[in-house]
Amino acid sequence: MRPTLSLLKSGRSAWKGPFFVAFPNLKDALQNNVPIHTRARSCTILPNFVGIRFMVYNGKEYLPVIVTQDMVGHKLGEFSHTKKRFIYKQTKNK
C-alpha cells in the first residue's frame, strides 16, 4: 500500500503528488504584483504561490485571492465563492 499525503490531507495517492496547474507567468506575478487570471479552481496552492495575487473564476467573474502561508495545501477554488446569498431588493417604481 502506498502512503497517502499526510501533509495535504487529501485522498489522493502520494505517488501522484498534488494536482496543480503550471502558471507560466508565476515569476513575473511575484515580482511585479500582477494578478494571475485563472479558471483552474482545482489547482492546489503550492508553497511557491505564497504572496501572489490570483483572480480566480467563480463561473461569473474573477474574484481576487491573495495567497498566504496558511492557504498552502488548499485549492484555489475554495477561496472564490460561487454562491451569493439571496437578498430581496424592493423595486421603487411600481
Binding site: 492557504m71 488548499h74 477554488g77 477561496f79 465563492h81
Partner: protein, 169 residues
Amino acid sequence: MHILGINLPDSHLTRFALTNFYGVGHKTAHRICARLQIHDRCKVKNLTPFQVTALSSFLSSPGTVPPIPRLPLASKSFVAPPPNTPVQPLLAKIEADQAARKPKSKAMEALSSLKIESELRREIRENIGHQRMIGSYVGKRHAMHLPVRGQNTQTNAKTARRLNKLERH
C-alpha cells in the same frame, strides 16, 4: 466509577463503558483494553485497582505511556548460560533490548496519538478556526450554520444547523 471525571457505569462491560469518553469509540476502546490486558467480558466493577490506575494514567497522557514490556519466550536453539553466570549483565542485556524495542504495530501508534475530551475538542475548534481565518468555503459554511460538504439545504440540514458553528464546543 469515575475516571478523569467521566462516569463509567459499574454494571457495563469495560470496553463499552470506555466509549463514554469523548473521542473513544468501540475500536479504540477495544485497543485500550487489549493494551492494558483487560479481558473482553470484564465489567467495570470487576477491574482491579491496578488496572484502574493504569487506565487513568493511560487516558490522562496516552503519548507518554511506555510500551508494554514484551518478554519473548526462548527459541528452540537457546542454550542457557552456565549456572554460575552473574545475573547483573543478563538483566542489563534484557533492559537494553527493551529500550531498543520500538512500537512497531499500527495499533500502538494509534493509541499513542490518541486525543480525548477537551484536547480533542480544542483540536476540532482549531481546525474550524483555521478554515474560517483563511476565508475558505468550509469556514464560511461553518459560520453560516450550514452543511459543509455539498448536502441539500432546501429541507433537513438539521444536524448542521445544530452543530456547525465557529465555537463548536
